[in-house]
């Protein structure tokens, strides 16, 4: 089994340009730089812009409270980005695995996009339900994968009709809403390698419910430095930040013994116990 010789080689681990993490938990580009790179001006209809402005004002109020030294509360834990966030302003790394009939994009949040290129149309309406990653089909134009996605819902919304908020990271804390997409949003992406160390996603969002015109975005990805295999984020594990009354807190470590060093494979067996007398 192996990919066709015509398949591009996208092997490796990739990250959003501008979202290289540092040891403090931050990233290497400011929100302003990222927004400029994304071509962030969505053509929102006036009523959508009004909703976005309200959300941004609320987010900035929250950020201002934090900068004053307050913890505004209302914390909820969430570990899923969904589409299109995984492609836009995401701190995740991913692998892109093209095969003739399907390309998968596997993200370090354990989210996966499946793009079927076996000639099928979109899932019929009576068989289709919206998910955070949508229904994606595609075709190849040379070494460019053209992806067509519908049926996207926010991973957080309780109903599809609420639409999907497209966010970008803010300073210190506080995302900034860029736009709100309707459940009818239709995404066309042209995904390709632009040089041996960069991939590119040229995305067009067609949403006549919320937009006055199609929205074109451009996102580039670069190879991850310092690690050359997939490792996953995980919300589970050793929870040290329980939410108490809507605030994240810091809990002490488990009372068990300190972390054990990794056991090397093929360790020598321990010596047999002395035979009983």
């Amino acid at each position: 089994m192996g990919a066709s010789a015509e398949m591009p080689d996208w092997s490796g681990q990739w990250e959003n340009v501008g979202a290289t993490p540092d040891a403090t938990g931050g990233f290497n580009q400011s929100l302003d730089e990222v927004l400029k790179t994304m071509q962030w001006g969505p053509p929102n209809k006036p009523e959508v812009q009004a909703r976005v402005d309200k959300m941004v004002a609320s987010e900035r109020k929250r950020l201002a409270a934090i900068n004053r030294g307050e913890d505004p509360g209302g914390a909820v834990r969430a570990c899923t980005f969904g589409f299109p966030l995984v492609m836009l302003d995401s701190p995740l790394m991913f692998e892109a695995l093209p095969t003739p009939k399907e390309t998968t994009l596997i993200f370090s949040s354990r989210e996966i996009r499946h793009v079927y290129t076996d000639g099928r149309p979109h899932t019929p309406k009576d068989d289709l339900w919206a998910t955070p990653w949508g229904d994606s089909i595609g075709h190849w134009e040379g070494q460019t994968l053209v992806i067509d996605t519908i049926a996207v819902k926010s991973p957080f919304a309780s109903s599809e009709s609420e639409g999907v908020a497209v966010m970008a990271f803010g300073d210190v804390e506080g995302a900034q809403t860029i736009t709100i997409l309707s459940p009818q949003a239709h995404f066309i992406e042209r995904f390709r390698m632009i040089d041996k160390d960069h991939l590119e996603d040229q995305m067009t969002v067609i949403d006549p419910t919320n937009f006055t015109a199609p929205w074109h975005l451009s996102r580039t990805y670069q190879r991850v430095a310092h690690i050359h295999r997939m490792v996953y984020e995980d919300c589970e594990g050793e929870e040290r930040n329980p939410i108490v009354n809507g605030h994240f807190t810091l809990a002490p470590p488990p009372s068990s013994a300190t972390s054990q060093p990794a056991t090397a494979p093929n360790s020598a067996p321990s010596a047999p116990s002395p035979a009983p007398q």
């Binding site: 040891a23 984020e233 060093p261």
Partner: protein
Amino acid sequence: MSRALSYTLIAIAAMLMATSAFAHHSFAMFDQSKSVSLQGTVKDFRWTNPHVFIQLLVKAEGGSEEEWSIEMTSPEHLARVGWRPGTLKPGDQVTLIIHPMRDETKGGQYVSGTGPGGPLIGSPTPSGEGK
């Protein structure tokens, strides 16, 4: 200027009223306006999801030892910076710069540090540039 935000903080359309914060954790816990230097001995370097922790033993006034919990980002993010489970070991003498907790909890957010081999990965070198 780098964005000092780990993972995501997403306020979504459905939560417009509540202005909720979605994340692994919140930086609101830490006082970003303060930087404190802690010198001590690593008790444990907990390389685990969702966030890595340095458990640091610090000598307090009077000679007693206090254990501080220094919170870092996720193993996935740290691995992309070059950290590994063995970057710090129990017994290592380190000096860490942290943003302390706003309450009295002995804890903080990792900013940078110096270990047995010099500046820790990603920390400013003596010339002032990050590695």
